[in-house]
Structures are given as C-alpha cells and as structure tokens.
C-alpha cells in the first residue's frame, strides 16, 4: 500500500480509495467418483479508485477512474498508471458527491467455523461427503466442482476509512444424473459460510431425488394458466425485483420511480404482504461502510433505498452499502397444502430469470410436479412459464416452512397465481 500512496502523492491525487484482496483457493473437480484435477491458487489484487474534483461554470464535479494494481508493477509503471488515471478522471464529469464518512475498525475475523482449518483440508472433507452419497449405479452425481476460498480484505480511503476482514466461503456445483427410464441430468449449486456437511449431504441427496423424478417425466404440462409454486433459489430470483427496484443505482437514474413510503405492493384477497430485510455475511461494504440489517419492505411499503455513497448523496439519503442476502417473513400456508391445491410446482429450470426492468419472469421447465386430487404426483418436463410480478404480486402466498442459503433466509416456497404455461 505504501508504494501506491507514494504514487498518489507524486501524481497529486488527494481523494482515493484502495481495496486490497488476497484470495487463496483450493479447487477440486470430479467426474463421477474420480478426481479430474486438483488446483490451488493464490491471487492478490488491489483496486485503486482515483477521484478528481473540478469546477465548470460554477458547478462542482467529482470524476473518478478505477485501476487494478497487480504484483509485478515497477515503481515507474505504477506512477504512470496512477498519473494517467488521474488525468482520465478529469473527463468523468459526474456531479460532486462525498465519500462515506471515515470509519476505522479492528480487523474482523472470519465468521466461518472452519477458519482455523487449512482450506485444502476443508476441500477434502467436502469431497469425502460428495463421494459418500454418490453410491447408486442408476442415479448418481455425474460431476462436481468444489471451491474453498479464504480471503483477506482491506479497504482504505482518503477520508480516513481503514477496515479489514477475513472471509471464508465454500461454493460448488454438481450435476446429478439418472440413467433410467430416461437418461437425464439436473444442475445444482451449493454455497455455505460454514463447513456444514449435513446441509451439503441433504443438498446432494435432494439433487439425486429430483433427477430420479425427472427421469420419469414423460411430457410437458398442458398449456394454460396455473398457480405456480417456486422454491429456493427461484423464489430468491423473484425477490430480486424488489431488491433492484429499491436500489439507489436504479432510483437515481429514474429507472425506478420508487420512494420511501411508497406502497410498492398492493394485495387482493388472501394475497400476503411482503416483509423484506436486506442482510450480509460480510462486515463491511466495498466502500468500507459497516453493514447492518436493512429493513427494506414492511407490509408492502418501501422502507429504504439502499446502495453506495455516490447515489445516496445525490438522493439526500444515508448510504447503506450493498447487501448480498435477503430475508423474508414466513408465510401462512403449508408447503404441503400448496402442492395439494393443484398448483404446478416448478422444481427446476434450465435457467429462470427475473427481468427487473419490466417485471417479467420466465424459464424453461426441466422438472415440474403436479399433484392430483388423489394425491398422486405427476413429474413433467419441458414447456415454459412466463409471467409478470407486477400483476402476480397482488396474490402471492408464502409457505410457513423456512429455507436458508448464502443469499436468502425465508419461506421455502411461494405460490404465484395465474401464470401462463406454454406446454403441450
């Protein structure tokens, strides 16, 4: 950092932010029960944001540019890079704004329960769990990738911010395959902040159970309008609409017209009102802002506009930093009752997407389940769902049962009314 600060001083840079990250990662790639390739990496990157204040016609501007400073740069290269970036910032004519108030804090230790364990050992334990459930000849894990990462992070700025933290994360993906009666596969991800091998085992086993169902699916749903049940990451994807529309990055440029106090969700009949809180597993945002739980929506009314310092300054609100996790209050209907109601449960998609600009969501069904009046479950595959949250949000029903992953805590399922299904 000292080498960079000297280069700033030499170039006349007085407003800046530095973000240093060093990440070590142990990576294992499996095909069936065999190790494809083990990898280890150690990468250090420092991002420098260089700001330049200037005035034109009595208006104050604060331009900025971002550069990466990687190991191996000579003093001369670094000085040239900083000088050029400072010059470029003079063409970035953005209205003046303040950086966050300077914040200093003690180093925050990793919150992971395996923070003292070598990452190679954690990766090995995850691999052992993977191989322990991969035992059926007809339905099994086809392939998997495991990433165990440990990072040290430091954020400093010219306002006096100096915070640092360690972070551990486990991320991976696996493809489950069932050979009979149809040879099919399902893709799943997993992400944990702790070495939760029981949760991983359950995730792997449910991936195998779902692919068995998909193997039995013979046809797509009949075309028409359905109440559709979404769970887990697909429910989280729907909620991204509320997260994005309430971000200062969408409100400032007027892509979103939401204001604090707006009733952003009207309900009809038994439709449930949204109660959303933004959360983070990290102690600080990318700007060094301390991340505290941020109540976002209360009974369908917007409580906060969230985001970074620049847009917050323009909007005249306090910056909250950015969050990666959403929490949602539990709902009123049991998951079983949802399924028994004749709704189509969309278990997995090839890709399910929420368009936060127009509120439209869609995806091609890889596996859907339809429970008949007699309780018999029919697995289906193919076809697609296509709907708009702007109309659907009036009648959302959430489950009583809860679900938790690295980006979501809340009801396991949502039932969305009258969704168009393209099928047979």
């Amino acid at each position: 950092m000292e080498q960079i600060l000297k280069a700033f001083e030499k170039a006349g840079v007085s407003v800046w932010r530095l973000t240093k990250n060093r990440t070590k990662s142990a990576e294992l790639y499996f095909i069936k029960k065999e190790l494809d390739i083990p990898r280890y990496k150690d990468i250090e990157v420092t991002k420098a944001e260089i700001f330049r204040d200037f005035e034109e016609d009595g208006r104050r501007f604060r331009g900025s540019t971002e550069i990466f400073i990687e190991p191996g740069l000579t003093d001369e290269e670094l000085e040239t890079k900083v000088k050029n970036a400072y010059y470029a910032a003079s063409f970035v004519k953005n209205e003046f704004y303040e950086l966050p108030a300077g914040h200093r804090a003690d180093h925050a230790e990793s919150r992971a329960d395996y923070k003292d364990m070598p990452i190679t050992e954690a990766a090995g334990r995850i691999a052992d769990t993977l191989l322990s459930v991969n035992s059926d000849e007809k339905a099994f894990i086809n392939s998997a990738e495991i990433f165990v990462r440990r990072s040290e992070n430091r954020i400093m700025d010219s306002n006096g911010t100096d915070v640092s933290y360690a972070h551990d994360s486990i991320w991976g993906e696996f493809v489950s395959q069932c050979l009979e009666p149809e040879d099919v596969e399902q893709y799943r991800q997993f992400a944990y902040g702790s070495l939760d091998l029981d949760a991983l085992r359950a995730r792997l086993e449910s991936g195998i159970a779902d692919v068995r169902l998909r193997a039995m699916a013979k046809s797509a749903p009949k075309a028409g309008a359905y109440n559709v049940i979404l769970t887990g990451e697909n429910l989280r994807e729907i909620l991204r609409f509320y997260e994005s529309r309430s971000s200062s990055a969408m409100v400032y440029p007027q892509y979103s017209t939401w204001k604090i106090g707006d009733q952003i969700q009207d309900t009809e009949g038994s439709g449930e009102k949204l109660n959303i809180t933004l959360k983070s597993d990290l102690p600080f945002s990318a700007e060094g802002i301390e991340l505290k739980d941020c109540p976002l929506v209360k009974d369908g009314v917007l409580q906060a506009i969230h985001g970074n310092a620049r847009f917050a300054y323009y909007l005249g609100i306090e910056p909250t930093g950015s969050f990666e996790k959403m929490a949602l209050d539990a709902g009123t209907m049991s998951y079983e009752d949802m399924k028994k109601s004749g709704a189509l449960e969309a278990v997995s998609f090839s890709d399910f997407q929420m368009d936060v600009m127009d509120g439209h969501f869609a995806g091609e069904l890889r596996l859907a389940l339809l429970t008949g009046e007699d309780g018999r479950v029919t697995p289906l595959t193919g076809g697609s769902i296509n709907g708009s949250i702007l109309t659907a949000q009036k009648k959302l029903i959430f489950s009583k049962e809860q679900y938790k992953d690295s980006s979501y805590e809340g009801p396991l399922a949502v039932m969305i009314p009258d969704v168009t299904v393209a099928g047979e």
């Binding site: 280890y40 190991p71 086809n142 890709d351 127009d358 439209h360």
Partner: protein, 473 residues
C-alpha cells in the same frame, strides 16, 4: 498496426523458464501459461460517466501445470519471482500431490507436446490508448445526447465501449508460443417507460481491433431505439408452434446455446452430451453447415493463435450439410478421447481451470434472399433481439429468449409485435426444420459465454437469417 509484445512478460521470461525447468526436473510433463491483460470499460448513462479497468476476462498472472499420478495438477498465482519457486514446488509436492494420491484419478494420457515456436499478433487500426480517454468519452457522450434528443420517449440511452489487449506466453518442454491480441466492443442500451414497467432495446458491435469500433456505434444506437420501440408495443404471445424467421443475432443464439454447447467434448468425457452418440448422423437440415474456431476465416473477438493449453487454433466444421461430423475440445479432453486437439481449451482468466469452450461459432451462408424468406411465411414471426439462452447438452432441450417477434401474415410484416418470447423444444427438431437460409453471415461478439453459470469467456456467434418451425411461449 500490430499489437506489440508485453514488456512485463518479456521481463518475466527468465523466471518463467526457471520455474519450467524446475518442474520438468520433477515431472514428465510441465507447462506454464503466463498472461498480461489490459481491459478498460467506458460507459455513459443517466448515472454519469464511468472509466474503469476490468479484470473479468484476465489479469497478470500464471498457471503452472504438471502431470503426476495419472493426471494433471495446477497452481495459479499472480506474483512470481525466482525466490518464490521453492514455495510453488512445495504446493505441487504437498497438498496437490496429496489430493492426487487420496482420490482415484480420471485416467489421462500425457498431452501431445510437439515442437512449435512462434510470436504472432493481431492487427488494429486505432489503439484506444492513443486515441485517448477524452476523445472516447466525448464520442460516447455525443452519441448519447443525440440519440436522447431524437426521441423524447426514451428514458435512457446508455452507451459503452470496451477494449481488451491481452498477451499470452505458453512454455513447455517443446513449445514456446507468444500471442498479442486486441478486441473491442460497444453497445447501446435504450429504455422507455410503459406504466410501471421499463422496456429495453439493445444493440451491439464488436471486432478484432481497437477504437475503430466507435465508427459503428451510431448504427447501433438506431437499432437499439428501434428495438425499444418494438418492445413498447409488444403484446403477449399465444403459446404454440410458429413459422419463424430468425435474424442473424437470434440464429447466433440458437447456434451457440442450443447446439454449440452440446459439442463441447469435455461434456463427452463426462457422458453429459447427447451429441457423442450422434456423430455421423443427420442432426439438421441439409442446408445447415456449422463451424467454430479461433482460426476461421471470419475474425472476431474470439480469434487467437493458440489456446490456453498451447494447442494451435483451428477452423472446425461441426455440422456439414446437416450431418454432425465433429465436436470441439480442450487438450486434456482430446487426450482422454484419443482425438486431435481443436484448440478450444480456454480459461476465463489465467487463474481459472481450462474447459472446452466455443470461439467464433456460426452457421455458414445459404442462397435465399431475406425478402423472399419473409414472403414465404403465411402466418408467423420475425424473431429479433436475443436476450439470453441456456444450454442442455444432455437432452438437447432449448431455452432461448428474445425480446420480441414481429408478426408476419401472408408474407408481409403487419406492424404487430409480440414479446417477450421463450423458444423451447428439441434442438434437432428445430435444426431439421430449417428450410431457408439467407446469403449473408453476420456475427456478434459483444457478450460473454458461461459454462453453466460461471467461467465467462469472450465469444462471437452468428450466421445468416434462417427460416424454421419453432415452439414459442
């Protein structure tokens, strides 16, 4: 002008060679890939102006690979000096070898390492660094302002330009390769409000070269405005099977997502690709020929001279007049399958794993005129503006999305627009239904391709207009 060599990599060569020699003393096979990358983004929108370096597709760094215990081990870093070599050797001898001994390995032969040595560079007309940040920002600001002024309905016209200059050195016992490459892209993203919804229109350009891409951005803005206007009047589509004309960008999405991912041969190794069992069979209409390669005659953003495993770039025919004749592969998969490498082993960045990846992928041209193709449709749609797609190599299911389709009735565009639209169905059904192909191939390389949900690499895709029967939702 030719892209020049990296002074950083040139100065690092003696250390890279020392590391390679130390590895070759211990292991039967060793190689090193080292990179130096500069990528810069310029963006102008209602939110302001942004100039930022980006390391999404690469950074300075290296990956050392060795062959041990019937397979490969890798170490990646971005800090390297002679005194660090013992530490790197210790990782190979320690935890990486530990993994290799603990778990059963996928049996892998040693990769081919025939002697090749060259230094090659691509050409550019205007280097963005020489044009300068001020000139680039000025062009983008002017284009945005002019576009916004021309249409009051627009909420936004965001314009961007990106360029990347990358340098790679690959060293093994018998190979010493260097390539220096520059590509650029640009895009316009228009928004307009429709009630509570905000509709968008997008158009992009790309090329192997530099800031000359800015010359094409004005046309791009016009297309984006047309697209957002179409999205504004789009009506929901009644799901069903339709006769469709696909614009080259939609053809490109079908080529890439629906079929291209299915012939990536690392999926063959995992038994995850239906294509493996269909070699030599008809999978598309006789009108269809499909190619991929970093060395095709068409040059775009995914053009290079060697891949990230030191295999030479190729021009691969995948479908020849409707018959599936070849897949594409990375070197390790090629060794496992006993086939010749096609130069498709790519890493998102130097510190990521290699996978089989597409490069420039496209259908070749046909003989029909676009106006005749539209005239041939009694009741159907002209599909435009692809937004996303997802592969399904195992079962060849299609999921592609487009912003809208323009209605065709009795051979004429009616002015009605439907969207957004999801394309679904079975890939060979769609490809076999192709009944007309236009004369001119167009490519697009402004986006990036993921392997599943990650591992982004720069690709281009495209083709001519095609006429096909497609299930839409």
């Amino acid at each position: 002008m030719q892209v020049s060599s990296s002074t950083y990599l040139t100065s690092l060569r003696p250390v890279l060679k020392e590391l390679l020699d130390a590895l070759l003393e211990r292991y039967e096979y060793a190689s090193i890939l080292a990179t130096d990358v500069e990528m810069k983004n310029y963006n102008v929108s209602r939110s302001g102006i942004r100039i930022a370096e980006n390391n999404m597709f690469g950074r300075r760094g290296f990956t050392a690979r060795v062959y041990k215990e019937h397979g490969y081990l890798e170490y990646s870093g971005n800090s390297l000096s002679a005194d660090m070599i013992p530490e790197i050797l210790a990782y190979f001898d320690g935890p990486l070898t530990g993994f290799a001994k603990t778990f059963d390995r996928v049996e892998t032969p040693v990769m081919d390492d025939q002697e090749v040595s060259f230094v090659k560079s691509t050409e550019y007309r205007i280097h963005p660094a020489e044009l300068g940040d001020e000139a680039i920002v000025d062009k983008l600001v002017n284009l945005r302002e002019n576009t916004m002024k021309a249409d009051e309905a627009l909420l936004e016209c965001s314009v961007r330009m990106n360029y990347q200059v990358y340098h790679k050195v690959f060293l093994s016992r018998h190979r010493d390769l260097e390539q220096n490459i520059m590509f650029s892209d640009g895009a316009c993203f228009c928004l307009a409000r429709k009630g509570e919804a905000v509709k968008d229109g997008y158009a992009s350009v790309s090329l192997l070269g530099g800031a000359e891409v800015l010359d094409q951005l004005a046309d791009c803005a016009d297309k984006a405005v047309d697209a957002v206007k179409a999205a504004l009047i789009a009506e929901p589509l009644v799901p069903g099977e339709y006769d469709c004309i696909c614009t080259p960008t939609v053809t490109g999405m079908i080529v890439h997502e629906a079929f291209g991912h299915g012939v990536e041969m690392d999926m063959f190794v995992k038994d995850r690709a239906l294509a493996r069992s269909c070699m030599g069979q008809q999978v598309a209409s006789e009108l269809v020929t499909m190619k991929d390669g970093a060395a095709t005659t068409y040059e775009d953003v995914a053009t290079y001279f060697f891949d990230d495993e030191g295999n030479l770039a190729a021009d691969t025919v995948i479908i020849d007049k409707g018959i599936l004749v070849s897949g594409i592969n990375d070197g390790v998969s090629a060794a496992r399958l006993g086939v010749k490498p096609t130069g498709n082993g790519r890493r998102e960045s130097v510190d990521h794993k290699v996978y089989t990846r597409m490069t420039n992928t496209f259908f070749t041209e046909g003989t029909s005129k676009v106006e005749d193709m539209i005239a041939s449709v009694e009741d159907g749609l002209l599909l435009d503006c692809p937004t996303s797609g997802m592969e399904d190599p195992k079962n060849w299911g299609i999921q592609c999305m487009v912003s809208f389709g323009r209605e065709i009735k009795d051979g004429k565009l009616t002015g009605r627009v439907f969207g957004p639209i999801v394309l679904t169905g079975y890939v060979p059904d769609l490809l076999k239904s192709i009944s007309m192909i236009s004369e001119k191939v167009e490519h697009c390389g402004s986006g990036a391709c993921g392997k599943g949900w990650k591992e982004w690499v720069k690709v281009s895709d495209g083709g001519p207009y095609i006429k096909a029967r497609i299930r839409l939702g």
